[in-house]
């Protein structure tokens, strides 16, 4: 177990190193930062001096090293627009993004797991067809369109729910549904196929033959085994949710990291973009590490691989 943990941890660190490299490289692609940061009428001499002072003349690898050391200390430079450290700006908005992603995941799990189970147990009934069709639609629907349609119906037509901003629970409902639908669809399909596979196993037949009937077989025997792939996908889907929050936050004016980074890109505020991409990716890597460790408790065979 210790060896597994150590290896998995080393892997995560390696992935983070790769992430940092790509994040740095994105800024490197923007070209000469001196021309962006200095006033346009600066003399050639000033530009040269500035470059020397900021270290833009150093070799690529040295610049990357400096960036990496800074990133480890939470230093991504000052935001060009807000004049605050980029790191602080991003960290301030993280709770909002976590709240939205968490709510979306909750919506997804609460809808998808019962729907998937019912679909599998009552296979080829009307209920199964309805849940399958809804899942298929959910997987094909673009998030931003769903968000706009929900606003159209619930905010514009019936005036039931607010269409923008963050505040109480009411503000959370539409964005959480919007962000969660794709994940709901994925988990529904996965739960259904997982349950179908498990329900046809010998040990389920044995349990039924012993006289265990109906619901207990489903809940105690089948779901426990069907849960393993669901746990994995929750980890992966969290990446989808964190990424998808960019669009959902833009539609609902949700004050999170996603909206901040879209605005930062429009404003060419690259330190903020770097900090946002790096921190969101790190969160994702961390969550997947936790999921993998949890996973070994559910399925000890994994450890031996």
């Amino acid at each position: 177990m210790k060896i597994f943990l150590a290896r998995r941890l080393a892997q995560s660190l390696l992935v983070l190193l790769g992430v940092s490299f790509i994040v740095f490289f994105i800024l490197y692609l923007t070209g000469d930062p001196a021309l962006v940061l200095l006033p346009p009428d600066s003399s050639e001499e000033d530009v040269q001096k500035f470059r020397q002072a900021m270290g833009f003349n150093d070799p690529f690898i040295v610049q990357y090293g400096r960036f990496l050391v800074g990133a480890l200390h939470g230093n991504f430079g000052q935001s060009v627009r807000h004049g605050e450290p980029a790191f602080n700006l991003v960290v301030e908005r993280m709770p909002a993004t976590f709240e939205l992603s968490g709510a979306a995941l909750l919506v997804a799990l609460c809808l998808a797991i019962p729907a998937g189970i019912v679909s599998a147990v009552r296979r080829n009934t009307v209920l199964d067809y309805i849940s399958t069709v809804v899942a298929l639609l959910g997987q094909s629907m673009p998030t931003f369109w769903l968000g706009i349609m929900l606003i159209l119906v619930f905010s514009v037509q019936f005036n039931l729910l607010p269409s923008s901003g963050r505040g109480n629970l009411e503000h959370l409902i539409l964005p959480a549904i919007t962000l969660g639908l794709f994940t709901t669809a994925r988990i529904t399909r996965l739960t259904r196929s997982g349950m179908l596979e498990v329900l046809s196993q010998d040990y389920i037949r044995t349990a039924r033959a012993k006289g265990v009937s109906g619901p207990p077989v489903v809940w105690k025997h089948a779901l426990k085994n069907a849960a393993i792939p669901i746990v994995t996908i929750v980890g992966i889907e969290l990446g989808t949710l964190l990424g998808g929050s960019v669009i959902t936050e833009t539609i609902f004016a949700w004050p999170g990291v996603g909206r901040l980074s879209v605005q930062a890109i429009y404003n060419r505020d690259y330190p903020v973009v770097q900090a946002a991409v790096f921190l969101l990716s790190s969160t994702f890597v961390l969550v997947n590490l936790v999921v993998d460790v949890l996973y070994t408790y559910l399925d000890p065979r994994i450890r031996l691989r």
């Binding site: 992935v15 931003f144 990446g239 960019v246």
Partner: protein
């Protein structure tokens, strides 16, 4: 005296006919799945409208007519022409823009899938066949790739390089190879132990030839399924980028761009945002249905 044996000594002309029959059997089996057939019809309609947009559409998609702005679906303008799905905030015909909007969607879809498909196929073949260090390196790269919230990475890169069709295609293409590589690698791992591969080795085929002539054709089935389903994902991403203003730039009509325009008028003119969204939904649904059918027919055990 030994006679050199090679693949050429086998009568290939005789072997070809059953392969063709196999293809017909496959097509029949696919056609029996009604949902897959429906998907195929939808995809065909979208492709045809993209190709024949200029003939199909009665209107110029970028022709503005301010006198007829924000007209609801079915309204008739002064010249007696019907706008079946209404007009937008600049008086442009929505149906025409939807038909032309299929072009950038499919162009990005096909081109990006081609790039990521070829990249992923190459990585999967090499990784699975040679294993060892190379495999480790590629699979770690795949982990790094998957650690990024994709949309965020895409908008960051496109925001820096500036939005244009080639940039969008390359960014999506280069960052979507992982699924292909994993599926192909999985197929290669089992294929390389099979007798026909060992036979090819025994006959003196070099690695490159074995990979291209014997392993690649057999790994093509799962690859094709992944490519089909990935196409749906890419089209959603393309429209998401256009929605954020980071896709193909106006005045070229894009579904995502139309949605972004329509969002502003959501409380007064619902049709602006509704119809382009339906176009994306139906296209993506069609591709997904076709892809699911393809998977179930070709390789029901494939888990995607």
């Amino acid at each position: 005296m030994s006679v050199p044996i090679s693949a050429r000594t086998i009568d290939l002309a005789g072997a070809r006919r059953p392969a063709r029959r196999e293809w017909i059997v496959f097509a029949r089996r696919l056609a029996r799945r009604r949902t897959a057939l429906f998907g195929l019809v939808v995809v065909t309609v979208v492709i045809v409208s993209a190709l024949g947009a200029s003939w199909l559409s009665a209107y110029d998609p970028i022709e503005q007519d301010i006198a007829n702005r924000l007209r609801p679906p079915g309204s008739v303008d002064a010249a007696g022409r019907t706008h079946l799905l209404g007009t937008d905030h600049l008086g442009r015909d929505i149906l025409a823009r939807m038909i032309f909007g299929a072009r950038p969607a499919l162009m990005v879809g096909f081109a990006a899938v081609a790039i990521s498909g070829v990249l992923g196929m190459g990585v999967g073949l090499i990784s699975g066949y040679f294993g060892g260090r190379i495999d480790d390196v590629f699979m770690r790269l795949a982990d790094i790739q998957l650690a990024f919230p994709f949309i965020l990475l895409a908008i960051a890169v496109i925001g820096v390089l500036g939005p244009s069709l080639p940039v969008i295609i390359v960014v999506i293409g280069v960052s979507s190879w992982v699924v292909y590589a994993r599926v192909v690698r999985g197929a290669v791992l089992s294929l390389r132990e099979r007798e026909f591969v060992q036979a090819a080795h025994a006959l003196g085929s070099r690695d490159g030839r074995v990979l291209v002539r014997h392993i690649l054709p057999n790994a093509l089935t799962p690859w094709l399924v992944v490519a089909t389903l990935d196409m749906a994902r890419v089209i959603v991403i393309e429209s998401a980028l256009s929605f954020l203003g980071l896709g193909v730039q106006p005045p070229t009509p894009t579904w995502g761009g139309m949605l972004a325009d329509g969002r502003v008028y959501i409380s007064t003119a619902w049709w602006l945002a509704t119809f382009p969204g339906l176009a994306i939904l139906i296209t993506v649904l069609g591709i997904n249905l076709f892809g699911d059918g393809l998977r179930d027919t070709l390789d029901p055990r494939l888990k995607l």
